[in-house]
């Protein structure tokens, strides 16, 4: 994976651009090409975890619950959510060196995985856009703290600057991302510790713990249940980055443990510090916390570093989006720069309407929960209980109908139906747009219900209707020459 390393050789000893595509494309990554070892895996996950999306999640949670309840819900909920979606993705993507949309093909089918791809791209681009708006807000707040009155259009201009910086980093490859993370990660550790120190020293633990929620609903149980849901759903929303991280790791432990510890535990802790900040400052806007907490100088410095971290996090998102776009036949052999440019196009909306789109952040988080939970449940059952951790790798890259994962015209209708059932289940248990909740929501987060029910239905359906035909198809494949008829790369 290291761009400075000599390119890989083919069987006839010649280097060629296939190596480049294996870096930027979708081909299975061989262990010797993978970038992340123990520290780099933890460092990348850590840098990914402590970007401003945890500040956003902590700020929203501050609207519903106080410090103690919020901290418990965010840490515990995140751990549960990350584990449920990462167990199968990490194990499978790391084992076969594939990225996550390819990993979806055994369950959803060659074409069905492209439907998941649409969800996935919306997720990645939505997060990227929100973070870039926070980058723009950060610039405005830095200028405000320095005594300049920043015009409204500067937020959009900041988003445009962020898009340009992200494009520059992303097109240089994963090695540059690792380099940036190795610089920014230590700085972010200092900032978060500084924020926590200022919270404790200036306000004290008692004031933090006694600070009321910013805008709670009337029923206490519902606020607590929503806070758990926010924790679980935000944990599950790591679905978008897990495959990219896992396929770049050299060992399975380096794939799974950093994701659980950094994206689950550390993310939960940082969300909690954000929650405390929101409660103490009395605002759910993270870019308004730094200066009141740290004073003008330290606040501006902190804002500047967090803004830089946003750029690296957005770069990781766009990198993963670019890999996913390789699934579209028209983009199979386009240049990496062109593909990254395409991922930047939807972000232009955030340049034009930054505040309007940023205000829809709640709805976006809810959308994430409805999508990731059923997809995660189906993938877990499919990989561990149906496929027994054994994938037919050639069929993942086989576009012809004889592939094992072609199903019906490229779609596994059962899996797609289960996703719809999962989404309906989510809204029946809890409607995040109206805050209406079923009694079941007292005991089970909507994301868990939307994870478990589709998973069970999928397992039963596959056993009853699909498994026998899959076995017959596998037997036919094993009897025929082991070559791709029509590669989908």
């Amino acid at each position: 994976m290291n761009e400075t390393a000599a390119p890989a050789k083919t069987s006839n000893g010649q280097a060629f651009e296939g190596d480049l595509l294996s870096v930027y494309g979708r081909e299975p990554l061989l262990p010797k090409e993978r970038e992340y070892k123990f520290w780099s895996a933890h460092g990348t996950c850590f840098a990914y975890a402590i970007a401003t999306w945890c500040f956003l999640t902590g700020g929203i949670t501050a609207s519903y619950v106080g410090a103690f309840e919020g901290m418990v819900c965010l840490i515990a909920g995140n751990l549960i959510g990350v584990f449920l979606v990462s167990a199968s993705l990490s194990a499978g993507c790391q084992r076969y060196g594939i990225e996550q949309i390819d990993f979806c093909k055994p369950a959803f089918g060659q074409n069905g995985a492209r439907i998941v791809l649409i969800f996935y791209l919306l997720n990645m681009i939505g997060w990227s856009g929100l973070i870039l708006v926070m980058f723009g807000n950060g610039i405005v707040n830095i200028l405000d703290a320095m005594g300049y009155h920043a015009p409204d259009w500067l937020v959009g201009a900041g988003v445009a600057l962020g898009i340009w910086l992200t494009y520059i980093i992303t097109t240089r490859g994963v090695h540059l991302l690792s380099l940036f993370n190795s610089i920014i990660t230590p700085a972010l550790i200092v900032i978060i510790l500084f924020m926590f120190y200022m919270l404790i020293s200036a306000h004290g633990w008692d004031e933090i713990m006694n600070a009321p929620a910013l805008d709670p609903l009337d029923e206490p149980w519902l606020n607590y249940a929503i806070a758990i849901e926010l924790g679980v759903a935000s944990g599950m929303s790591w679905w978008g980055g897990i495959g990219f991280l896992a396929r770049n790791t050299k060992s399975r432990r380096n794939a799974i443990y950093p994701e659980i510890l950094q994206l689950g535990l550390v993310f939960g802790f940082v969300c909690s510090i954000a929650l405390f900040s929101g409660l103490v400052v009395g605002s759910d806007d993270p870019t308004k916390w730094m200066v009141p907490l740290g004073g003008a100088f330290m606040g501006v410095m902190a804002l500047a570093f967090v803004a830089l971290a946003n750029i690296t996090s957005t770069s990781v998102s766009l990198f993963a989006s670019g890999l996913a776009l390789r699934h579209l036949p028209s983009l199979h052999r386009r240049s990496w720069k062109f593909i990254i440019l395409l991922t930047c196009v939807p972000l232009v909306f955030f340049v034009v309407w930054p505040t309007e789109l940023y205000d829809m952040g709640d709805a976006f988080l809810a959308y994430n929960g409805t999508m990731h939970a059923p997809v995660g449940g189906i993938l877990l059952v499919d990989y561990f209980f149906l496929k027994k951790q054994r994938l037919h790798l050639r069929s993942i890259f086989e576009a012809a109908p004889n592939g094992l994962y072609y199903y019906s015209k490229g779609f596994n209708i059962l899996a797609l139906l289960c996703v719809i059932i999962g989404q309906l289940t989510y809204f029946m248990v809890y409607n995040p747009f109206t805050d209406e909740a079923h009694t079941l929501f007292r005991f089970v987060p909507a994301s868990i219900a939307a994870f478990v029910l589709p998973a069970v239905l999928y397992w039963v359906g596959m056993k009853v209707w699909v498994e026998r035909s899959q076995k017959n198809r596998l037997a036919a494949l094993q009897a025929s020459p082991d070559r791709l008829v029509q590669s989908n790369v």
Partner: protein
């Protein structure tokens, strides 16, 4: 746009990678045994659920 003459090489490279990854033993990609799963489930599911119930 990548040059078209690279395409056969790309498919050949993909075939080689598929063979290599498919034939590779699990141990070559790092072990992850039942103890690992037990630890993961404990810290990611069991303890969080207990804490959430107690804090309710």
């Amino acid at each position: 746009m990548l040059e078209q003459e690279k395409v056969p090489d790309l498919v050949m490279d993909l075939e080689q990678r598929i063979d290599e990854m498919q034939d590779m033993g699990d141990a070559e990609l790092g072990t992850f045994g039942s103890l690992d799963w037990a630890i993961l489930i404990l810290i990611s599911v069991v303890l969080p659920v207990i804490v959430l119930v107690l804090a309710r």
